[in-house]
Symmetry: C2
Subunit: 144 residues, 2 copies
């Protein structure tokens, strides 16, 4: 299974007929390997272990991945963007942000069925459901 993420990264990029550069492969691989959305800084740190990538390049690669539909961008509650390659097009898709450690998780089992009555003149694009609370790593004392 360790090869899977590498291979998937390769394949996904090749699939587009675009250049699979070192930076893109490694970035996508990092995102695929992560079990939760990562911030730019976190990605940078993970990549730095074997030959760092420039900050700006990483921004560009991430935008590129998002534009190509290989990743998606999530706004956290700390004004930092996070990126995920795992649940790219899962519908009924919400984000959980831990108020203690600020980590973000993608939740895919959510069916947001809200009663929407927009005032006239508003045209709805997409909706974004974000939940806050504490994650398993940050549970205070008593068990669940």
């Amino acid at each position: 299974m360790t090869k899977s993420t590498q291979a998937r990264a390769e394949a996904a990029i090749a699939n587009l007929g675009e250049r699979a550069t070192e930076a893109r492969r490694r970035t996508l691989e990092t995102l695929l390997k992560a079990e939760r959305p990562l911030s730019h800084t976190e990605i940078e740190a993970k990549l730095a272990t074997r030959g760092a990538l420039d900050r700006v390049t990483l921004y560009r690669v991430l935008d590129w991945l998002v534009a190509r539909g290989l990743a998606h961008k999530i706004e956290g509650h700390d004004r930092v963007w996070r990126f995920s390659a795992t649940a790219v097009d899962a519908l009924g898709h919400a984000h959980f942000c831990c108020t203690a450690c600020n980590k973000v998780y993608c939740l895919t089992g959510i069916k947001p069925a809200f009663a929407l009555s927009l005032p006239p003149g508003f045209r709805l694009g997409e909706t974004d459901l974000s939940l806050r609370g504490t994650c398993p790593d940050c549970q205070p004392t008593c068990a669940t």
Copy 2:
């Protein structure tokens, strides 16, 4: 009705038994007068018309208002915080962010009834429903 916002600002602060300073009154008044959440910069601009307030002081005043429950803080999609004093404790409360002009609106008629099944270990605090689309000011060509 013009006196109402001033008076309400005064009263709300006095009600807490806290110091109703110039900065606080004017800031709260500005928020009450606004029909939609305002960013720090917007508030600063509005206040600047008659004797500017220091940037930092404004940040502090806003935090103070939030801490006292007189305003609430909204995270926009542009990494900017917005503040509103109007729908402070309206439940079933969502935010609409215009993708064209980046203005944010509070929507109060929303009942987010989503099916929630959090993975074990997660504890839910608050939820935040944010909508994106175009606002009345930014409708492309055709009328509604």
